[in-house]
């Protein structure tokens, strides 16, 4: 799918998202953007940077603080054949509009026996690490992935952010696109250097449903996603110097989930660590465990290990928050425990 010939520049994840949306808007008049502060402001986390200047208020619409209203309006427009890209500013706000998302956006195609499509992208900011506390720091991708009818993509870097956004907009299904604030490459937030990277100028897609082997290794498999991929790569480089070979699977998409890539890696290493910034129980880390346990539990030469938010709301104070986030130190320690 990639046009590797095209010239690349180093851009942020946020810019990569906005670039993909812009490309699709130029290519298809049915594509438009809706959300809070997506216009002149460019999106609180930069996901619509410069789009307002090019396309104007007509196709980049600021909305009232009425998530049920405008997400429902996105669904109605999609049902009529438009391709809305709707932003829910923080994923934490899902609770004021979850009925439209899970009972309507995700179910209309099925309920209609396939007669009605809802080609819509719902993008939202996830994650913590900057003391935004319990109501503005969650990931919640496990919550969306549990409910049928919506694809769920979770890019970890600028290249995938652009390619997955293009695929999401072109997809005839509703797609939840979850980006991590700490991975956007924002000038006003601590960022991992990997949040700025080479991305082709020309349009390209990254297929939804294919995990990436972010780093090949032989000793341990880390299955992870989003910003935790960046942290895991940092850890893997550091552990390599100690002779530890870590393989990192960047899931990129939770629905559909690329079971095969996970299983092949675990079969190779025999050791599984899931690193997930979402809550630990009843979520992603459990699903990865089930994929292995229902295929062949003997793949695991050691009990698997889960590094995730330990089922507590995200606390405010930095000392407390970093006490529960999957930091590089904790990832490194978890890998070493698996090898101990």
């Amino acid at each position: 799918m990639t046009t590797t010939e095209s010239p690349t520049r180093r851009i942020t994840t946020a810019k990569a998202m906005a670039e993909a949306i812009g490309h699709e808007m130029r290519a298809d008049p049915n594509v438009f953007v809706m959300g809070e502060d997506v216009g002149a402001y460019g999106g609180i986390f930069g996901s619509t940077t410069d789009l307002f200047a090019e396309f104007g208020a007509d196709r980049v619409m600021d909305t009232p603080i009425s998530e049920t209203g405008f997400i429902g309006a996105g669904i109605g427009a999609a049902v009529e054949g438009m391709r809305p890209v709707v932003e829910l500013m923080f994923v934490d706000f899902y609770g004021v509009c979850m009925d439209q998302i899970s009972n309507h956006m995700a179910k209309i195609h099925y309920e209609s026996g396939g007669a009605v499509n809802v080609p819509m992208v719902l993008m939202s900011a996830t994650g913590g690490g900057y003391s935004d506390a319990a109501q503005h720091s969650q990931c919640l991708w496990g919550t969306f992935a549990h409910l049928p009818g919506m694809k769920v993509v979770v890019p970890s870097n600028p290249y995938d952010a652009k390619g997955l956004m293009a695929s999401a907009i072109q997809d005839d299904n509703p797609v939840i696109y979850l980006f991590h604030k700490g991975g956007q490459g924002l000038v006003w937030m601590e960022k991992n250097p990997r949040s700025i990277a080479d991305v082709p100028e020309t349009p390209f897609t990254v297929p939804i449903g294919e995990a990436a082997i972010a780093r090949e290794g032989t000793d341990v498999t880390i299955v992870t996603l989003s910003l935790s991929v960046q942290h895991s790569l940092d850890v893997a480089e550091q552990l390599a110097e100690e002779g530890i070979s870590v393989e990192i699977i960047d899931l990129r998409s939770l629905v559909p989930l690329d079971r095969q890539t996970v299983l092949e890696s675990v079969a190779k290493t025999g050791k599984l660590l899931v690193v997930d910034e979402d809550y630990k129980s009843f979520g992603l880390s459990g699903e990865i465990a089930a994929i292995v346990a229902e295929t062949d539990p003997t793949m695991l030469t050691k009990p698997m290990s889960r590094l995730a938010v330990p089922d507590v709301p995200i606390p405010y104070a930095r000392s407390l928050e970093y006490g529960i986030l999957p930091t590089r130190d904790k990832i490194a320690a978890a890998v070493k425990d698996l090898l101990a």
Binding site: T68, G69, F70, A73, G76, V79, E80, D99, A115, V116
Partner: protein, 324 residues
């Protein structure tokens, strides 16, 4: 209004009533002796609209190709009045492969893409969707309109508020229709709503609102005509509340023990009332009325037969249509 208009309204109301009466009968037919909601050829919840025909018929008389409707859990009258195919709709209610949704949706989830008709079982949630359909219509430069339907109970749900504000703010071609049938299951209007007319709430969004007190199909026809013309002309949304009547239970099986307004409720049935008015005005004869009813019964019977003769879905097909 011409005699033809009047007879048209009457004919459609009768058509809907005969349909609902037959569904009522078929629904209960095979749930005895031990009444089981999940049993029989028509399983599940059943919300019938008898008594509420004036709202649907008065509004839909003004709709054309491309106009959309989002209806709530009680959708049959609006579906039929809007031209949803009776056979396909009935087959859906029977859960057959020839149904609108191949048996996946059921009576609360009827989707007819061709007629831009849909409904939802979640209170008031069709309101935002109608706003989005209206948005698409304006972006495409058509003069189509979207009709959003809900009950008086639904008017206390947040989605109602957000939708009215959004539609007024963006000047969308939407007509919000509230069917006030005095009840939200067992909760009377006075137990759910702090004011007496939702038309008054429209003012809070700077949109026109009217309340029609007497379940009169012609009054609905007039008000809807004005509101729909307004929307088509690009002058924005309106709200119409129709004080109507829930002749039967909230859903079938509802004993209605809570209900204190059943006394000679049949006298308030809008259909005989309208027949009498038309007859008095010389627009309708007994013979003509009988003919209208017979035609409706024939169509309904054919639809039931169509459904009964249609195949039951294969269990494995439940796995289809999660994604396009």
């Amino acid at each position: 209004m011409t005699t033809l208009d009047r007879l048209g309204l009457y004919t459609e109301m009768v058509r809907i009533r005969q349909y609902e009466s037959r569904i009522l009968q078929e629904y209960h037919a095979d749930k005895t002796p031990a009444w089981d909601i999940g049993a029989g050829l028509i399983p599940g919840e059943m919300h019938l609209s008898a008594g509420q025909e004036p709202a649907a018929v008065g509004v839909c008389a003004h709709l054309r190709k491309g106009d959309a409707i989002t209806a709530p859990h009680r959708p049959h009258h609006f579906a039929l009045a809007h031209g949803v195919d009776m056979n396909a709709m009935t087959a859906e209610i029977y859960g057959r492969t020839t149904g609108l949704c191949q048996g996946k949706g059921g009576h609360m989830h009827l989707f007819d893409a061709e007629n831009h008709f849909s409904c939802s079982g979640i209170i008031a949630q069709g309101y935002p969707v109608a706003c989005g359909q209206a948005l698409a219509m304006t972006r495409r430069g058509t003069d189509n309109v979207a009709i959003a339907v809900a009950g008086e109970g639904a008017a206390n749900q947040g989605a109602f508020h957000e939708s009215l504000n959004l539609a007024a703010l963006w000047n969308l071609p939407v007509v919000f229709v509230i069917e006030d049938n005095d009840w939200a299951i067992s909760v009377p209007r006075a137990g759910s709503t702090a004011n007496t007319s939702n038309a008054d709430r429209a003012a809070g969004y700077g949109m026109p609102g009217v309340r029609i007190e007497d379940n009169d199909v012609e009054a609905v026809f007039e008000a809807a005509g004005a509101a729909i013309d307004r929307a088509r002309a690009g002058d924005g949304p309106s709200l119409i509340e129709v004080h109507t009547l829930r002749l039967w239970g909230h859903f079938e099986g509802d004993a209605q023990a809570y209900r204190d307004d059943m006394e000679n409720i049949d006298d308030r049935d809008p259909i005989p009332r309208y027949a009498a008015a038309l007859t008095a005005a010389g627009d309708l004869t007994e013979a003509k009325a009988a003919e209208i009813t017979a035609a409706a019964d024939a169509e309904v019977d054919a639809a039931i037969q169509f459904a009964l003769q249609s195949p039951i879905p294969e269990p494995a097909d439940a796995l289809l249509h999660v994604f396009a």
